[in-house]
């Protein structure tokens, strides 16, 4: 275990313990001298055990065995994502497969297997740039679309962000970043024709300087123009409530009785924690149950309320050090597949941490992504820890498989 990244594992375990602690206080209600605790923290401890066992198995199991499992795992996950759409809704979406003692979220598994399969595909030798783009886009879009229908926009986005990171890390020339981002910019710019035309000209000039073929440039130019023309049409074709839904996603404060209300309450909880917090179990906002999903999506607000700036800083520092430690190790991976997979996993962990904490602080749209390692939740925890297990394994075995 010469290469094993012990510091990342220790940080992970500390984060998991912080999670148990936070879930305990988040699911405890204290009014006067009366204290009631729901048993979520016990279940979380159970899941942590399972997760760490899985982590150990992944680190120890021969690489070839896992390799064989990737494609069947992906197919099975896609089937489960289809199945889940036909199951009854739980809490307003088709996200869970009920299994008696716990609800399983196939979308969590989808994140892991999709990244692993993408890494595998992109590391095959002798592919053209566009071959790589097409194949990886296909592999990501299938589960991402199915997850989007559930609906779970956050998880769906996570997949694309990871893919983007892998492609950036990958063997593609740099100008592809510009090509990938150009449709998004075109959508935003489409509401002002002059601005769009200027941007389009800049894009084509940049691509010309990169010595791209005329056919490719034509295609990219036409595609962007098409996107820019169709966006306003689609926008105005949407029903008012559909437009509102999109606007509310960008600005949750438009929905004062739903997302907006949650974010205000989250901000009040965190803000009122001040520098040192109100103390263990003393969060008034939490105790009054103003915040829904205390122990899951909004657990950071409970930490903020009870342990203040100080507590939040510790948690964020732990997360930062953890990610930093993984990134440093990943750099040393030589084989493309292991490198891509690790980049994808680290990106998706970082993205989820940022989106969840940002949502709690009211600076990022609400997407319903839990806080990795801290939020209560069986399948989410299990998959996140397993994903870390993969990275740790790949780093550990780099001398053998490199």
């Amino acid at each position: 275990m010469k290469n094993f990244n012990w510091s990342a594992l220790v940080l992970l375990i500390i984060l998991l313990l912080v999670g148990v602690f936070s879930i305990y206080t988040a699911s405890t209600t204290k009014i006067g001298d009366e204290i009631t605790t729901e048993n979520f923290y016990i279940r979380q401890i159970f899941w942590i055990f399972i997760s760490l066992i899985m982590l150990y198995i992944i680190v120890r199991i021969p690489r070839q065995v896992l390799d064989v499992l990737i494609v069947p795992g992906y197919v099975l996950t896609v089937l489960m994502l289809v199945l889940v759409l036909f199951l009854p809704q739980i809490k307003g979406s088709h996200r869970w497969i009920g299994m008696g003692f716990a609800n399983f979220q196939p979308s969590e598994l989808a994140k892991l297997v999709t990244i692993l399969l993408t890494a595998k595909l992109l590391s095959r030798p002798h592919q053209s740039d566009w071959q790589m783009i097409y194949s990886s886009l296909l592999v990501v879009t299938i589960p991402a679309l199915l997850i989007l229908i559930e609906p779970d926009l956050g998880t769906s986005l996570t997949l694309f962000v990871s893919l983007f990171a892998i492609l950036m890390a990958g063997p593609l020339p740099k100008f592809y970043i510009v090509i990938f981002l150009s449709p998004l910019i075109s959508i935003v710019a489409s509401f002002s024709i002059p601005i769009f035309l200027v941007l389009l000209a800049l894009l084509l000039w940049y691509l010309y300087n990169q010595r791209l073929g005329w056919v490719t440039m034509m295609f990219i130019g036409v595609f962007n123009t098409f996107v820019a023309l169709i966006s306003p049409v689609i926008w105005h074709g949407l029903k008012e409530y559909q437009q509102n839904r999109i606007l509310t996603f960008i600005d949750p404060m438009r929905d004062p009785f739903g997302a907006g209300y949650q974010i205000i309450q989250s901000k009040i909880a965190i803000g009122s924690g001040g520098l040192w917090g109100k103390g263990f179990l003393m969060g008034t906002q939490k105790n009054l149950k103003f915040l829904p999903e205390h122990h899951t999506d909004f657990i950071f607000s409970v930490i903020g309320e009870e342990f203040g700036f100080f507590g939040c800083l510790i948690v964020l520092t732990l997360f930062f050090l953890f990610l930093f430690s993984l990134v440093r190790s990943i750099r040393k991976l030589k084989r493309n597949e292991t490198y891509f997979a690790s980049i994808g996993i680290v990106t998706y962990l970082a993205f989820q941490i940022f989106v969840n904490v940002g949502m709690n602080l009211g600076v990022v749209p609400t997407t319903g992504i839990p806080l990795p390692f801290i939020s209560y939740g069986g399948s989410n925890l299990l998959i996140n820890v397993m994903a870390v297990g993969f990275v740790l394994k790949l780093i550990n075995e780099r001398s053998i498989f490199g």
Partner: protein, 588 residues
């Protein structure tokens, strides 16, 4: 694209930047604006207030009230302001005459709703309120609210009633619609049309501090208006309903249904004895509940749809039409001679008339209600044929009336007989009994009324219903009745109609007591033997026609005696009253 080392630097920088954004947001919230949020959190200035929707009211076909909302003073408690739990509970229990455990239970169950008012006592009298007002100063957690309460204008079995929502109902229903203080329809129309009646509550976001200054967290849609519940306009006619209540024999239990023959709308729905739904609105007391439950006349039983009884002879038209439709008989066929009964195998099946009826055709058999004709006729059918045909006439099936918990009645199968009477059971005798509506056969009065309504309405069965339309601020929605055909050819239908006419209007017809001059009354009597008592159940079912059939009715009197003697006169009075109401010039 990038070298390993370059890319890991990019990734590190990107992650650092994202964390810096979070850090800045954190500094802003907790350090820069920390004290502001502390004040906001202490005072709980920001919260959602529900604006309740007004529950729809219920009216009869002429917009006369049946169920209204009337003003009510209610007592609320705010758990966050309770100083001494025991003292408050004790005070409320004593002053408002509520059991102490009940008050304590509400307080304990809602102890976390610090800033919500929880309903404690409803419908407090004015005198009580004035008397208690002063003492209320000692209990800042208690407050009065001027609200409304459901009021049922007369005891009945169809309106149902509302009651305080229970935790299970709260969990099963869309929780944005109901709060812990909500009322919800528990049975009858109140439950069946709960969604329409209750409407959708509105919301208001409160975001002002103690000084009344707007905190300006949110700028959009701070108030969502409630959509008030729909008013229900029923097909019930209060005048007819009230009249039937008046003439209903005081010493008997039973049911009367009157339907509009053209629409299937129920005009009068009386089941006796009945109870006052108002008892349930504020929560029924233990004594009241026990007395209702222990009353052997079962006032809570809606005999129209919740009671099932042997129909007796009013079932005979079904047996007759089966014979006609299967062409076992025609209008002239005479079956076995009635000599006061019929010998089948080693058993003698008695006719109600011990003198005997002699040889009869189907019309006379119905008119005189001769049992022997139907005994003999039934020997031509299998049990399954009789059962299927009964169900094809929508008898022993739920009618689908817009009420809760309707029963379907009972028509036994072969298997049922084998399971209950042993493998060697002889079906013949059982079939013979059921041909005249006796034996194991059980129906609800509403099924029989719907059947006779179909005979009146050209052989087209209409789903019985109480709702005529719902009215909201924006729209009027009409009830869409469902029509289905009876398995009956026109000439056979006309034959049966003729027989029903002669039963009432012909010489020595059993339904003579229902005759009304100037009106064409059709009907069939029934006197069903039963296990409930010595006397038979008295039935009379039929319809009345002017230019066209307008009403159908079923009168059912539990152990009332002979249908022709007891039930038919009630039908006559109903038709007479209706005639005076709708056709004042006719028949006088």
């Amino acid at each position: 694209m990038f070298k390993r080392s370059t890319f890991s630097t990019i990734l590190t920088v990107a992650i650092t930047l994202l964390f810096l954004i979070l850090l800045l947001a954190l500094v802003r919230l907790q350090i820069v604006k920390g004290s502001f949020y502390q004040v906001v959190s202490q005072q709980n200035f920001v919260r959602i207030k529900t604006i309740p929707s007004v529950r729809g009211e219920i009216f009869d076909c002429n917009y006369r009230p049946i169920v209204l909302n009337v003003p009510s003073f209610n007592l609320y408690i705010r758990p966050g302001l309770i100083k001494d739990k025991e003292r408050v509970a004790d005070f409320v229990s004593k002053e408002f005459d509520v059991p102490l455990e009940e008050v304590s239970r509400i307080i304990i169950n809602n102890r976390y709703r610090l800033y919500h008012d929880v309903l404690l006592v409803e419908n407090i009298s004015y005198e009580k309120r004035v008397r208690v007002a002063e003492k209320l100063n000692y209990f800042p957690s208690l407050s009065f609210r001027n609200e409304t309460i459901r009021n049922y204008r007369y005891p009945n079995h169809f309106s149902g009633y509302v009651g305080k929502i229970n935790p299970e109902e709260l969990k099963n229903n869309d929780n944005s619609h109901y709060t812990i203080n909500s009322h919800i329809g528990k049975t009858g129309l109140e439950k069946f049309y709960e969604t329409a009646l209750s409407g959708t509550p509105g919301y208001e976001l409160l975001q002002v501090d103690a000084k009344g200054k707007n905190l300006k967290f949110l700028h959009y849609n701070l108030r969502k208006e409630p959509a008030h519940g729909a008013n229900l306009i029923l097909t019930i006619d209060n005048r007819l309903q009230q009249y039937v209540e008046e003439i209903f024999p005081k010493n008997l239990n039973g049911a009367v249904v009157v339907m509009d023959a053209q629409t299937g709308g129920i005009l009068a729905y009386v089941s006796k004895p009945d109870f006052d739904p108002n008892m349930f609105v504020t929560g029924i007391s233990v004594e009241d509940w026990n007395s209702l439950m222990q009353d052997e006349n079962k006032p809570m039983l809606d005999r129209i749809i919740h009671g099932t009884y042997p129909p007796g002879s009013i079932f005979k038209p079904i047996t007759a039409t089966l014979g006609l439709e299967m062409q076992v008989i025609d209008s002239q066929t005479k079956l076995a001679e009635c000599v006061g009964g019929l010998q089948v195998g080693n058993r003698f099946f008695k006719c109600w008339n011990h003198q005997g009826h002699g040889f009869l055709n189907v019309t006379d058999a119905l008119k005189y209600s001769c049992d022997v004709f139907f005994y003999d006729l039934s020997t031509n059918f299998t049990l399954d044929q009789m059962r299927d045909f009964t169900k094809a006439n929508f008898v022993t099936l739920p009618t689908g009336v817009d009420l809760i918990g309707e029963r379907k009645g009972f028509y036994p199968t072969h298997q049922w007989y084998r399971d209950n009477y042993g493998k060697q059971v002889s079906i013949l005798g059982l079939k013979i009994n059921m041909s005249i509506g006796q034996g194991e056969l059980l129906v609800t009065p509403l099924q029989m009324c719907a059947y006779f309504n179909a005979l009146a309405h050209d052989g087209v069965w209409i789903r019985p219903h109480l709702l005529q339309k719902t009215i909201t601020k924006d729209q009027v929605k009409l009830y869409q009745p469902e029509f289905k055909d009876l398995p009956l050819h026109r000439q056979n239908l006309e034959l049966i109609q003729d027989a029903l006419y002669k039963t009432v209007n012909g010489l020595h017809g059993t339904g003579g007591a229902a005759k009304v001059s100037g009106v064409d009354v059709y009907g069939k009597t029934g006197s069903a033997e039963n296990h409930m008592g010595e006397e038979s159940h008295a039935w009379f079912s039929g319809y009345a026609s002017w230019e066209e059939p307008e009403i159908s009715f079923t009168v059912f009197l539990e152990n009332g005696g002979g249908g022709g003697r007891v039930a038919a006169p009630i039908a006559r009075e109903i038709v007479t009253f209706y005639n005076d109401l709708k056709h004042p010039k006719a028949g006088k």
